[in-house]
């Protein structure tokens, strides 16, 4: 079911959240700049970007803590202008968790339900259900100061979910957790979102987190959205150099377009003797145009033997650094131009006879389909 979930590709689908030409200024500073974005019901949507890119402001406008300077935000068709945070069917999980220190875990979770004036038995039942969902039944009477970081995160999640909001906003939800716990929690969040059929909007600066969890990612920079796409598209078909460099590792080779040959673009670079052949048919380029070629480290091959004469995309260099990560080995190869390439190689075998060593002369190759051309 997950695989076929793509309402954004359906022209008849109505978005749940709609940002229309939204601008937010703080004094002279522009935090969000004429931004338009649709988010659909049931999506796990990530806003990704470096700090100061406007992603948090965007989320706070959705929660109602900030109002747009220009433009309009609608939720399920309703214009949110002038609707205060306490009247929006949206709940937020705060980066600091913002648990009420003077209330026990169950009181924290019940807080939102109490504001709705639900009858007591119903509140108790819902609190129970939430505690079970985040597996904290035994800690209901504890206070936030008596909990570990991971437990607090769960309480914050349960509290935000308790009112069954149309949209759950999560501000750097895993930022305060250590690496192991973060990974586990990522999958838990995905399961919860899936089970509750809720729309999640997550703000994060951690691209790995966004890649793992999101149905779609919006990469933001300087108050604008640079690309909205699935994690796979963002990684394999980045629209700009900023995205290629921000999401994952990448090698950039700069050059000029020479022309098209057999459906492949020929690009002359200083890094390689022969022009490179790149298979990126969607790109519209003209001869002489300056471009950047982006190749992911795992899509390059490093070898000691000279490739066959008919091989394409051959670069030569010497091994500058070797980093052994267990599952991967990362080679840093220094080309004659002084550029350093990063090539990663999966360690498929436990023993390698005569492995590539420091300072060796090596060849780096990549297939025409492995690279993306980015217009400068």
């Amino acid at each position: 079911m997950r695989r076929t979930f793509s309402p954004w590709a359906d022209p008849n689908a109505k978005p749940l959240i709609r940002f229309e030409n939204v601008t937010k200024r703080f004094g002279d500073a522009v935090a969000v700049d004429r931004l338009t974005l649709d988010i659909f019901e049931g999506e796990f949507f990530c806003l990704l970007g470096p700090s100061g890119c406007g992603k948090t402001t965007l989320m706070r406008m959705l929660a109602g803590f900030e109002y747009p300077t220009e433009g309009r935000i609608t939720l399920a068709g309703q214009d949110l202008a002038g609707v205060p945070p306490y009247r929006r069917p949206v709940n937020m999980m705060f980066q600091s968790y913002a648990l009420f220190p003077h209330m026990s875990v169950e009181k924290n979770i019940a807080f939102g339900l109490k504001q709705d004036g639900l009858p007591k038995p119903e509140i108790a039942a819902r609190v129970e259900e939430m505690l079970r969902l985040v597996q904290l039944e035994k800690l209901a009477k504890r206070y936030p100061s008596q909990l570990s970081g991971g437990q607090r995160q769960r309480v914050a999640l349960a509290r935000a979910l308790a009112k069954k909001p149309k949209v759950l906003l999560l501000d750097e939800p895993l930022g305060a957790l250590d690496k192991k716990l973060r990974e586990e929690t990522q999958f838990e969040l995905m399961d919860i979102q899936h089970d509750l059929h809720m729309t999640f909007v997550v703000v994060t600066h951690d691209q790995e987190e966004a890649m793992t969890m999101a149905d779609r990612i919006a990469v933001m920079d300087h108050g604008r959205i640079v690309q909205v796409a699935t994690p796979g598209e963002i990684y394999e078909q980045p629209k700009t150099r900023f995205i290629a460099e921000f999401v994952g590792d990448v090698n950039i080779l700069e050059g000029h377009v020479m022309g098209q040959e057999n459906g492949l673009w020929r690009v002359k670079t200083a890094s390689a003797e022969m022009p490179l052949s790149i298979d990126d048919p969607d790109e519209v380029l003209h001869s002489g145009q300056a471009v950047a070629i982006a190749v992911r480290p795992e899509k390059m091959v490093v070898q000691r033997e000279k490739p066959a004469p008919e091989a394409v995309n051959v670069l030569t260099g010497e091994v500058w650094d070797i980093g052994y990560l267990g599952d991967w080995t990362v080679y840093r190869i220094r080309l004659a131009t002084g550029e350093i390439l990063r090539v990663s190689c999966a360690n498929v075998s436990r023993f390698v006879e005569n492995p590539i060593d420091w300072d060796e002369q090596v060849y780096v190759t990549f297939a025409p389909g492995a690279a993306v051309i980015l217009a400068e």
Partner: protein, 266 residues
């Protein structure tokens, strides 16, 4: 850094504390004097405490003092807390610096001037001097202390707690009473105790604004001393010192504990 106590440190410590507290200690000791002569030691006795409680005029003054302290501290706490909220919450409104300075001015204003100007004001609006004028004057004096204490707590207050409450459906006023107030309560209590003790031992402002039937304990003690020292006064002063010390210490402890607790919860 050398953290051990050297002879020099010990000496300066002893001298400093002696300078500050020896006179007070002397007064406390002499309140247990068996002799009628204030300056001659005549053995240990608690008779002056007993005499004090039989002294109608002194007891009445004590009762007036406590009522004034309680009322003025109450009013100062409400006003001071509101001022602290306004100063920390409403960003940079025009004249904010001036307003801050004006709130703190009574702290450094010579008491004689505060007392005199209040007296002139009460005369101008034709308010009969007495219990209520002292209460109002003490409110003016102590409000800024409450503001300082509450403001320092609000500075470290995590605003996302209030945002979370609103996000969960609580309108601003309910957010204030359900989240903000309980969390800053310790500092408000500390501010109240501070205001209470300040009102308790004030002489100057009270004597400017007093009237018939509103003699506070400090005024009473001062006027009695002018007529001649009595060991009863020593006993009364000792009790006053005890009350003030208790108030200040609890105010400090309460605000310290709340700071520790709020730090733990970050």
């Amino acid at each position: 850094m050398n953290r051990r106590l050297s002879l020099f440190n010990v000496t300066s410590l002893v001298l400093g504390f002696a300078f500050l507290y020896l006179p007070i200690l002397l007064l406390v000791v002499y309140s247990f004097n068996g002799s009628r002569l204030v300056t001659v030691w005549g053995g240990f006795s608690t008779q002056w405490y007993a005499a004090l409680f039989r002294n109608q005029a002194l007891m009445e003054a004590a009762w007036v003092t406590l009522r004034i302290a309680f009322l003025s501290a109450g009013m100062a706490t409400v006003l001071g807390t509101l001022a602290a909220l306004a100063l920390t919450r409403y960003g940079r409104f025009p004249g904010r610096t001036l307003f801050t300075g004006m709130v703190y001015a009574p702290m450094v204003m010579p008491e004689v001037i505060t007392g005199l100007s209040l007296l002139l004001f009460f005369v101008a609006v034709d308010l009969d001097r007495g219990f209520w004028t002292i209460t109002l004057a003490h409110t003016t004096l102590t409000m800024c202390f409450v503001t300082v204490v509450v403001q320092s707590r609000l500075m470290t207050f995590d605003r996302s707690l209030e945002e979370a409450a609103m996000d969960l459906g609580a309108p601003p006023l309910r957010t204030f009473f359900a989240v903000t107030l309980p969390l800053i309560a310790p500092s408000i209590v500390a501010g109240f105790l501070l205001a209470f003790t300040l009102s308790l031992d004030d002489l100057v402002i009270a004597s400017f604004n007093t009237g018939p039937g509103a003699t506070t304990l400090p005024i009473k003690i001062y006027s009695q001393v002018r007529l001649g020292l009595s060991p009863e006064i020593n006993a009364a002063s000792t009790i006053l010192i005890g009350l003030v010390t208790l108030g200040v210490i609890s105010a400090t402890l309460i605000s310290k504990r709340s700071v520790l607790r709020s730090r733990r919860n970050v």
